[in-house]
Symmetry: none
DNA sequence: GTGGTCTAGACCACC
DNA sequence: GTGGTCTAGACCACG
């Protein structure tokens, strides 16, 4: 379900956060469905439960999931997630556009690249 | 000349590297011109000389500058600098395009945003 | 495990880098095995942890090891390591061959020396 | 007569030492002939006389030249120079041979490379 | 004066 | 516990 990349420079908990976000966005985890428990997911990935705990805390902070004491963690409204990730992406895009301009890349070249990449990319990161 | 953002999660030396790269790319620092000395820049930014030293070392490793003991640090050929930053940017763009697709953003919407951002951005980050 | 030569003109961190490379190449450090921690190796060699840190950073930059915050540093694929060191060696050899020619050393003399040294050398530097 | 490479990482005085050694070895500077004065060579290369001074001192220390107060610096016996450089080269060769063995390069491969490089190299470094 | 290395000691993020 | 960043201050080689 989730594959960790220990050679990735990002912290483990961040990888988990992102993978879970992706699963929600692509519909594999539907609204109000229950996430695996901290302990079981930790066992499955053979990592420290603290790390899962932190990932869940982060997701809750961002409003992507909600936790009920004694019951577990559940997927929040799906729309918000997409919206949040979209906003984040638009921010990155704006930064890139500015930098491209600095580098003397024309608008034509830039949009052409974007279209090209959009068509090519299979999806998985 | 250079503004540090202490709230930024990235290390200071990395911010300096990027800022100096930008100054070289946009032509504010011309080929073979001398950079401020490690100590003077450290003083100006009120940070430790070691941190500047590290930024300069990184820039030298990437081929953006060359340093001569006892003389100073100088900007290298900058054709290659632009090329390097361009490649980096295209990589980021490809990643973003893939993610946008996952999020259900249409190609039209994406390119439209890109054009918009390209026109708006004044330049300074 | 590692012997430092304080009379050597090269910086300590560079000596450590080379020694560790050798240990990886000759198989004493196997793929994905954990390196001693920054602090423990520093203690063992009675030098400052920062110096070890720098050596590890250099090895990571060259792709010889990978480091995970909070976990440790581990040796990477070592096929590429050998290849990299090989290339480096061939470069040095080419330089030497040219110099030998300048000095009037005959090809016979040169190859003879090479064979001799190859047979003699026990290995450890 | 001498070209300095400011982008070379080695110190200037070391470059000068090597260039002068080469000139002696190849016969351009004959035994007992006078070297340019410190001041004139410094002027010619537009560098600090101290740097030339240091190069000459190094050459004298190695026995390649001899200085007479009030008269100037002169080329020493030519045989010694070649011999010294030869010895140095053999040392490097021995080191390389040992390393090659560690890397699993066969003796055949090594000598073949040496012969090849010997034939190819034009000479100038 | 310059860049480069090293030490001692602190703090942070992560697991 | 781990690696990574930063500071303060020292020393060296070089020009």
């Amino acid at each position: 379900m989730i594959l960790l990349d220990y050679k990735d420079r990002r912290p483990i908990y961040e990888q988990i956060v992102e993978k879970l976000q992706d699963l929600m966005v692509c519909g594999a985890l539907t609204e109000d469905s229950q996430l695996p428990s901290v302990r079981s997911l930790a066992m499955e990935l053979s990592i420290n439960p603290n790390t899962i705990q932190r990932a869940y805390a982060e997701l809750e902070r961002q409003g992507f999931i909600y936790s009920i004491k004694g019951k577990g963690s559940f997927v929040a409204e799906n729309g918000m997630i997409k919206e949040a990730k979209r906003l984040h992406l638009y921010n990155d895009l704006e930064r890139l556009a500015g930098e491209a301009r600095l580098l003397g890349i024309t608008k034509q070249e830039l949009t052409h690249r974007v279209e090209q990449y959009y068509d090519i990319t299979g999806g998985v990161r």
